[in-house]
Amino acid sequence: MSSQRETARGFPARFNIPGTRVLALVLATAVVAYLAWKIGQSPPQALQFAFNGIAVGAVYALLAMGFTLVYSTVWFFDLYYGAAAALGAYGVFYLRTATALGSRADVNNVYVNAVFAAVVGGVVAWVLYTLLHPRLRGRFTPNTIGVASGLLGGGAGAYTGIVLAFPENLHLTLSPAIGVVVAAAAIVVPFWAVQTFVPNIRLSRFTAIAGLPAVVIGAWCGYLTAGAPGAGLYLSWAVSCLLAGCVGLALYRGLYMYMRERARSPLIMLVASLGILLAVAAFIVIVFEAAPRPLPTAFGSETWKIAGARIKGFNIFAIGVALAGFAILWLLLKQTSFGRAVRAIGDDEEVSKVVGINTTVIIAGVFFIGAMYAALAGILTGHDTAVQPRMGLLLLLKGWIASVVGGIGNLYGAIVGGFVLGVVEQFGIWDLAGEWKDAIAFVLLILFLSFWPQGLLPRR
Amino acid sequence: MTSSRSGQTDYVLQTEAISKHFGAVRAVDELTLAIPRQGTTSIVGPNGSGKSTLVNLLSGVLPLDGGMVIIDGAGLRVVKAHETPDHGLTRTFQEVRLFDQITVWDNIMVVLTERRLFPALFERARPATRQKARDILEQVGMWDKRDSLAQDLSYGQRKLVEIGRALAMNVNTYLMDEPFAGLFPQMIERVKAIMKQMRTDGHTIVFISHNMEIVRELSDRIIVLDSGALLAAGEVEPVLNSEEVIEAYLGA
């Protein structure tokens, strides 16, 4: 594989028949003019559509960001991405159904818990091993490091099993973990801040100073969580995002990695991930039901009236999540060495390997983050409407379309494309029934691929 | 055969200020050249000087950014790949592009059969076509391998099959992108023999090579490219001995 970009060769050149471009422009102008006229007719309704569009656009933007991150690194369409969205949403359903929906006795299933616990255990063990091995190589034998990470991973798996087994007590079972995470953050974040002023300070020395207060803060946060049963819903978001991310990482490390070494074409990867999507979707139907189910109501379910249009507080929250997600990804990709490595791998994987980037670890991280974004989008959709097993594929396709519209491989393109897709969809159904939404999205996709295959903001 | 029109012009291929840019890279830059009818012309130039891009432009594999290609007297601003055989032109690829997952036999047969859609649907291989395919495979020495998939051949064998595929087209002009690169000396001799035969049969050959011995041996004329522009063209020895060419090759 001489050039990575070869794999994206399915992208067509622009239509070069002159008439069609003019026609497309004329048609587009006509549609825009018609919409403008309609907006003039009833501004409040237009505002309503715009609100709705931006609200769904936020979800699409989240999806597109994760999707474009994964796609522009490994250059194949990973359909597990859709399954991750469904897993995220159903994870919340799974964890909250007992208290919020009147329990179905068999929902908390031992086998399902065991599967997820094993996945998390494996992922944690691998991550620990790859992180510790280069640092501790001098002091311990690889076997020792392996066994130690294996034990820690096993512990993490067992802990996950416990968390999943008592979903109604998430606030209790998760409080130690939260305490530890907060304590660690309370050391590392100030450390970074101090490092900018005192460049040669050592982490161990800093810990000696800041360790005690950090532990106190961590313990206090853990204590607060343990005393707040209402936090369960939001904790379940975190848990299911993590689970979806771990499954994504495990898939990459356990399957895609080997497959990519042998695969002649990105289609092999696509079909394999199609198989995974099929299996996961059916698995979800088996564990839950095929029918759509509501998630427990989150905050912000009351509607606000702004200039004659109504919008739910939760939708505004979703928009905030999308923007925050964008900010985090932007920091990660543009400001850190991780981001530079991702970029290098996307440009040419072979060369990055040669210059010493640990491609396995970086790509695994990309899959983890991508799946987390998908899961988050799935959760937001689930709260906004309902969860259903088919949602994965539809969300995947929407994320796909949004990233093509925005310009595949471009982070800014992803967020722009998401909002554009959402708004276009909503304005598209002004004169049509709401069920035509998906068709409109695909018509938009085909128009873009035909006339602007680079998208709104091309990569580079 | 288009040779009936050969009275029209002395040049089988001409370009007028053709360009091709890849982003900031000017792979071919306002290039004007002419390749006379019959005989063998070689194109040489350092790596990345735009030789392959030129061939791709001439054969319609890449769209022109500007300028005009004149094939056999017909001026074209847009070269359509599927029309190049009608202009008496065919080519081989530098990176050997066979149809990998079909047999060597089918690789040859596919260029011998009907082009039009409906007749193709009702056409089975005729004995005459089979005989022709067989002749060609024997000529390039690949008859024994006719039943293996193209992807299972070695690089040199693939190169030979590709040359056979171009031969099967039986047209006026052959553009060959580095037909000798990566071949075992014996194979080189075989390809040389084939090309000499083609030349005596009155075909026009344009080939790219980095091997100056072969260039000297085979070609009647030479074209030297550098950074997408014409550096020199004409008889082989004077051009190769001229100072600017030596400088471009050694000083680059």
């Binding site: 060769r9 399915g10 992208f11 067509p12 239509f15 194949f76 399957l255 080997y258 497959m259 695969a263 002649r264 074409s265 289609l267 092999i268 990867m269 696509l270 079909v271 394999a272 199609l274 198989g275 995974i276 099929l278 299996a279 996961v280 059916a282 698995f283 088996i286 594929l393 396709l397 796909w400 998906d438 068709a439 695909f442 691929l449 035909s450 | 319609g60 790949a81 599927h82 055989p85 009608d86 065919t90 080519r91 066979l98 149809f99 990998d100 997952q101 079909i102 690789n107 047969m109 596919v110 260029v111 082009r115 859609l117 193709a120 649907l121 056409e123 089975r124 291989a125 595929r165 087209m169």
Partner: protein, 351 residues
């Protein structure tokens, strides 16, 4: 049977050398796949009796027509289309509307146009309309390849589903169309299941024959070349877009026939028969059976139907989960195939 002492003596060495063993096994996969699937089918028929086998046979025949036709596009031309179900749906709805009887439709509140045609008059129209849809879709899709083609073909499946669901004036949306006529010639109605099975098998044979005719011609050879390298084949004077469009339309017309048969067989259709998932399953069948072989598609369809029927007899599996369990198995099979056998069981083309 004479005992091959040489083979037996080689056995221990073979067992000790996993790579050698894998090679042996691989060379026999095709044989074993054939034996397993056909043997399974025969065993199933013997076990369940003719009556049941007839119904399953009809399902098989319709899936087989679909997968043979899709293989022309996926296996021979290399366009991984996930939208084939759309053409199937066009055929099915055409049949349903053309044959629906005015007397019955008058009783319904939401009326759809009725024609009251006989089955055999409507069937060619099914193929024609599916072909017409394919021409329009094909002209737009012709420019896309590889991943992007997959994406837009997803889009076609979703758009066609939307049309079936929302164009209520013609399809009656989610309520579906009932009382679709069974075929009849003069006085002889194809009422019984056996007659219908024979009819489907006959059409399957015709479709296979046409497919064979197409792929064994010069046209078919050009298709495989397009699959391998579209740009290269253009240089040799073929206009790849025309060829792709032609095979796309041929394949869609076959799917239209399958749709006509399907709606006449079930006598009731609604949009849920034409969801994207069915299309994905169809692709899985084609890949499982084998790319670029007609026989493989048959084998794939047979394996698919057997998988479902076989699962009825897994003791702990509740019946409502059979479809899902099959889907899980198919998904895992797809992953394994992509890992170890990207051409499918008896395929001639690796993705």
């Amino acid at each position: 049977m004479p005992v091959d002492m040489q083979r037996i003596r080689e056995l221990p060495a073979l067992v000790r050398n996993p790579r050698e063993m894998a090679r042996h096994a691989r060379s026999n996969v095709e044989l074993w796949a054939n034996i397993l699937v056909i043997g399974g089918a025969i065993a199933f028929m013997l076990w369940q009796g003719a009556g049941f086998a007839v119904i399953v046979g009809t399902v098989f025949a319709i899936w087989a027509i679909l997968s043979v036709s899709l293989n022309l596009v996926v296996g021979f031309t290399g366009l991984l289309s996930v939208g084939h179900i759309g053409f199937f749906g066009v055929g099915a709805y055409t049949m349903a509307i053309l044959t629906s009887s005015p007397e019955y439709e008058q009783l319904r509140t939401e009326a759809i146009p009725t024609f009251g045609w006989p089955f055999f008059a409507a069937l060619p129209v099914c193929a024609l309309l599916a072909g017409l849809a394919a021409i329009i879709v094909g002209i737009v899709f012709n420019r896309f390849r590889d991943d992007i083609f997959v994406l837009v073909s997803f889009g076609f499946a979703i758009i066609s589903f939307n049309v079936f669901l929302n164009w209520r004036a013609v399809t009656r949306g989610a309520f579906g169309i009932h009382e679709i006529a069974r075929p009849e010639i003069g006085d002889w109605r194809f009422d019984g299941d056996v007659e219908f099975l024979l009819l489907c098998l006959a059409f399957l044979a015709v479709v296979m024959l046409i497919s064979w005719f197409v792929v064994s011609s010069s046209f078919g050879r050009v298709l495989t070349a397009i699959r391998e390298d579209e740009q290269a084949i253009e240089v040799f004077g073929y206009q790849a877009t025309h060829y792709k469009l032609a095979v796309w339309v041929i394949s869609a017309m076959m799917a239209g026939i399958a749709g006509g048969l399907f709606s006449s067989w079930t006598t009731f259709i609604d949009p849920n028969s034409f969801i994207l998932l069915e299309s994905v399953l169809l692709v899985a069948i084609v890949i499982l059976g084998g790319l670029a072989t007609i026989w493989g598609s048959l084998l794939g369809a047979m394996a698919f139907v057997l998988l479902e029927e076989g699962m009825r007899f897994i003791p702990f599996l509740p019946t409502e989960y059979i479809g899902q369990a099959r889907q899980v198995v198919l998904g895992i099979l797809l992953v394994l195939l992509m890992l170890f056998r990207p051409q499918g069981l008896v395929g001639r083309y690796r993705l």
